[in-house]
Each structure stands twice: as structure tokens, then as C-alpha cells.
Amino acid sequence: MKLVKEPIKNKKLWIVLGVLFFLSVPWYLPTGSYKPMILGLPYWAWIILLDTLALSITLTIALKKLWITETDKTEEGEE
């Protein structure tokens, strides 16, 4: 089995993950602020949730598209 694509070698992926990591903590928002409330949640909770959602999407793409081995290729060929 040989690795054709390895996620760790993809620079763009780590830039995206790095940015999402730093934005996942609300250091850039004013302390104590919570208005406007949207659907019962403070505005910043939505920002954090969306950021975390983006992390999960990025991970899904990375696992599916950036991690390829030779067996994947042969399996695909067989299918």
C-alpha cells in the first residue's frame, strides 16, 4: 500500500485549519457582549458554531479528498 496523497503535506489545508482554529475562540469580540440574540443564542455563539461547523466540513473534505492511497485507486478501478 502506498500513500499517493497525504493531508499533512497539503499547505492550504493547514492554513485553513489554522485560521479556523484561531477564530474558534472569540478573542476578537468585545468582552461581555451578547447582543443581538438570534434564536435564543448570543450572536457570538453563532460565530463559534459556524466556525466549528467549518472545521468539521474541512475535516470531512481532507479525510475524503486529501488522503489517497494506491488501494483507493485500484478499488475505484474495480468498482
Binding site: M1, K2, L3, E6, P7, I8, L17, F21, S24, V25, P26, W27, L29, P30, T31, G32, S33, Y34, M37, L39, G40, L41, P42, W44, A45, I48, L49, D51, T52, L53, L55, S56, L59, T60, A62, L63, K64, W67, T69, T71, D72, E75
Partner: protein
């Protein structure tokens, strides 16, 4: 908070018995189907490297999420408010940790037939020091992790059933069940029971959410209430909150993925496709697990305002109890929740115990003490030492030594110190064996000393400081004292994928 418990007594005992019997049955069926399971390390500890995507996903899930993710995290949400959103993020970040090493390690594990995480260290560094120290650090971390699960299962059972089932009886009952099914079928039993336990955990969390919304009103009224009485729980956290948030997500990013029991699951995958797809699933589970638990904690703040820190620890029990007293349907639903919480704890403990035994069997006994021992003997020794460890941990759980209790609190801090050797070794042939060893020793000592002394400079956890120093020693040590050409060549061959 004294309350008449709605679901203590006979029904509590009944659900525990049924639950224990189902797990036993899974163990027996697995054993009957795979009678040779105890003759080879690969069969016993890795389920013959044949876990399919669904089983693999659930065993990852049930191993990573324990009872504490419900009974401990809801009170965190209660006390911290929206700051505890971090519990969703850090559980997602665990998967980023896997991306750092899983693809390459999986390929290597097939090429060199790894059974334990230490096998990789042994193959890569060919150093007794690194292998033994790595194995010991993992054993130590695993032992303490197991201890934590034992304490949790006892407290969970006696707390949720209003002490109908005394703490000790509950712990012993579940440990015996757990040991029997693990012994019967090894990783297969553990993974199949994890599948059932994972379902139970998910079901329990959702049923509690539904009950909370129905009987304590929903999240919007909880946040309205919060705005009136405790707006700080709604607001963006202060700088201290932000620092501890960064500290926690950084530690889990590296630490949780490197758990030895998690690594062994990578080795157990039937195919790389199964591994990838189960990790994809894991990237989404935080939303439906820790996210849901956060909502429950926030609703709990509205329902039971004014609990102090110790009282709030009982939050899930208090809420479940109230919901159970509403009608028969919810009464049984809450009993299932109780089963789900116990399931979550046991499914973490069984995986930890199995990995613990595998390190004893293969790395220490088979690797150094009796190199010619056949595999079934290695497995036997691993089981026996596992049991002795369980007994010692139980004694500690019930008679905690007063003065050195902190040494049992070191888990993550110690486990995470294996990460540089593990991860850097995968990608850099220049890494010097002695630098790795020195980094591990100094990182561990530093993390331990800082934990005992309670130092957290700039608000960052002691484990992170240990990890930072450890990594720096690995990197700069390797630059200053270059690894000999021969070692580099060996490393090149080892990491070729």
C-alpha cells in the same frame, strides 16, 4: 438538594442487570464465533485487523466519549454558560490531531504489522530507552484513566439511583462483566459492545434533551432567564476565559488523538476506507453529543438556578429524576439514559484496559522479559497483569492515599509527552534518538512538577508547557547533534510510504 429519587430501587437494579447480561452475551457470541481469538496478539488485541466502518466508528465514538461527557459536561455548561461551546470545538479538533499522523501510521502499521502503539516507537528508534519509557508513560496514563472511569461508574450508579445500589457493588459488578467479555473476545468483544454502548449513549443524550425541553421549557427561555440574572454567562468571556479556552483546545488537539487506545483502533481498521469514513463520522459527533449536553446544562441553569459548584455536579441526576417522575414513558426513558451513561463509562474503560494489557503482553513481557514466549502466553500474562492493575486501582479508588493523590490525577499531561516521539518520528528522518528520549523525560518531569505545584504560567496548562519543552528538545537536540547517517537511513526506510 434532597429529592425522593423516582427511579432508584428495583428498576435501577433491573436495568443494570439486563444491561450487564447483554454485554456478556455479546462476549460469549464473539467467543463462539472466533475460538482462536486468544492465540494471537493480532486476533485478540486488534480483532484480526478486521473492524468494518460501522463497528470501527462506534468503537472510536464510545471510547472517546465517556460518562463524564454527559454527567460532567452538563454542569460545566451550567456554570460557565456559553463559554462551554468550546466542548464542541475541542472534540472536533481531536480529528485534526488524527490528520497529523493517522494516514501514515496506518500504512506503516500494515507494512510492519504493529499491534501496540509502542511497536511504532520500537521500530522507528530501535532504542530500549525510548521503547520502555514510552510504554511506561502510556501505562501510567492509561492506569490513571482507568481509575477515573472506575470512580465515575460508582458515583454515576449510586448518584443516579439514590444510593440504592451502593458504590462498591456497582463498580465490582460492572468490572467483572467488563473483564469477562474482554477476556472472551478481546478487541472484537470490546468493539461490538462499544457499538451497543455508543447507541445507548446517543439515545440517552437525546432522550434527556427531549425531556428537558418538554418539562423545563426550551433554550430560548433559558437564555432569557440568563440575560436577567447572569448576563456574564451569555457574554463573550473575559481574557482569562479566552486563555483557558485556548489552553484546553490546544491540549485536546494533540492529546486526545494520541491516546494509545485510539491509536490501536487505527491499527484495527479493516481497510483504510473504513478508517477514513469512521473518522469523518467522528468529525460530526461533537454537535450531537457535547453540543446537546451543553444545551441540557443551559436549560438546567434555568430549571435549577442557584446551585453551588458541588450541587451543580448532580445536575443530570436532578433533572433526570424530575423528568422520570412525569410519566411512565419518561420514567423508562430515564432508566435507559442511566444505562447509556454507564455504557459510556464502561465502553471507555474496556478499551483502556485492553490497550493496557496489550502493552504489557507485547511490549514489556514479549519484548523484554520473555522474548520466546508464544503469543497465547503473552496474552495470558497481559490479562493477569491487567487484573492485578484493576485490583490495585480499585483499592486506590476506595482508599485514596491522602498526600500523593495528585499522582493519580496526571493523565493527559503524561500521555501527551509521547506525542513528539510519535509524530515527529513519522516525518523527520533527522530526529535523534537521544533527543527524543531527553525530551520525553524532561517534558514529563516538567509537566508533573508544574501540576503538583499548580503552576499554569499565562493560564496555559502544565501538560502544554511540558509538551512545548519536550518538542523543543527533540527538534533542537536533533539539529545540534545530528543523527548518524546509519540511523537516518534506517529512519528513511521506516517512514517510506
Amino acid at each position: 438538594m434532597d429529592q425522593e429519587l423516582a427511579f432508584g430501587g428495583a428498576s435501577g437494579i433491573l436495568i443494570m442487570l439486563i444491561y450487564g447480561l447483554i454485554m456478556l452475551a455479546i462476549g460469549i457470541i464473539t467467543y463462539k464465533r472466533n475460538k482462536q481469538v486468544r492465540d494471537s496478539n493480532e486476533e485478540y488485541y486488534l480483532g484480526g485487523k478486521g473492524l468494518s466502518v460501522m463497528v470501527l466508528f462506534f468503537t472510536f465514538y464510545a471510547t472517546q466519549y465517556s460518562g463524564n461527557n454527559i454527567i460532567g459536561y452538563a454542569p460545566e455548561g451550567y456554570r460557565a454558560g456559553f463559554e462551554w461551546l468550546q466542548s464542541i470545538t475541542f472534540m472536533v479538533l481531536v480529528i485534526v490531531g488524527y490528520l497529523l499522523f493517522a494516514p501514515r501510521l496506518y500504512v506503516l502499521s500494515r507494512k510492519f504489522e504493529f499491534i501496540t502503539p509502542t511497536d511504532w516507537l520500537k521500530k522507528r528508534y530501535k532504542s530500549k530507552g525510548v521503547t520502555i519509557l514510552g510504554a511506561l508513560l502510556m501505562l501510567y496514563g492509561l492506569g490513571n484513566y482507568l481509575l477515573e472511569q472506575f470512580v465515575a461508574v460508582g458515583q454515576g450508579v449510586s448518584g443516579l439511583t439514590g444510593d440504592t445500589i451502593p458504590y462498591q457493588a456497582a463498580v465490582i459488578f460492572f468490572i467483572i462483566i467488563m473483564v469477562v467479555y474482554s477476556w472472551l473476545g478481546g478487541m472484537r468483544s470490546v468493539a461490538y459492545t462499544d457499538t451497543m454502548q455508543g447507541f445507548a449513549l446517543l439515545f440517552g443524550v437525546f432522550i434527556l434533551l427531549i425531556g428537558s425541553i418538554l418539562y423545563f421549557e426550551g433554550l430560548p427561555s433559558a437564555t432569557d432567564y440568563m440575560e436577567a440574572v447572569a448576563p456574564e454567562k451569555l457574554g463573550v468571556p473575559s481574557s482569562e476565559g479566552i486563555t483557558s479556552w485556548f489552553s484546553l483546545i490546544s491540549l485536546t488537539l494533540i492529546g486526545a488523538a494520541i491516546y494509545p487506545q485510539a491509536i490501536q483502533r487505527i491499527f484495527s481498521a479493516k481497510s483504510e476506507k473504513a478508517l477514513k469514513n469512521s473518522l469523518v463520522g467522528m468529525a460530526w459527533m461533537p454537535f450531537v453529543t457535547t453540543g446537546v449536553v451543553l444545551i441540557i446544562g443551559l436549560i438546567g441553569f434555568h430549571a435549577y438556578a442557584g446551585l453551588d459548584s458541588a450541587e451543580s455536579e448532580q445536575l443530570v441526576g436532578i433533572m433526570a429524576n424530575y423528568i422520570a417522575s412525569q410519566n411512565t414513558l419518561f420514567y423508562w426513558a430515564m432508566i435507559l439514559l442511566f444505562g447509556g451513561i454507564i455504557a459510556a463509562i464502561i465502553s471507555t474503560a474496556d478499551s483502556v484496559l485492553l490497550t493496557f494489557s496489550s502493552i504489557i503482553s507485547k511490549d514489556l513481557y514479549g519484548g523484554f522479559i520473555n522474548k520466546t514466549a508464544p503469543e497465547h502466553k503473552q496474552i495470558f500474562v497481559g490479562k493477569i497483569i491487567g487484573i492485578i492493575a484493576v485490583i490495585i486501582l480499585l483499592i486506590i479508588a476506595w482508599n485514596p492515599p491522602g498526600t500523593i493523590i495528585e499522582i493519580f490525577e496526571l493523565k493527559f499531561e503524561v500521555l501527551v509527552q509521547v506525542a513528539p516521539a510519535f509524530i515527529l518520528g513519522l516525518y523527520f528522518k533527522q530526529i535523534h534518538t537521544n533527543a527524543v528520549l531527553a525530551g520525553m523525560v524532561i517534558g514529563t518531569l516538567l509537566a508533573a512538577i508544574m501540576t503538583f505545584a499548580g503552576w499554569t504560567p499565562f493560564g496555559f496548562a502544565s501538560g502544554l508547557w511540558g509538551l512545548l519543552v519536550n518538542t523543543l528538545i527533540c527538534v533542537f537536540g536533533s539539529i545540534l547533534f545530528q543523527a548518524p547517517e546509519k540511523e537516518q537511513q534506517h529512519a528513511q526506510e521506516m517512514t517510506q510510504v
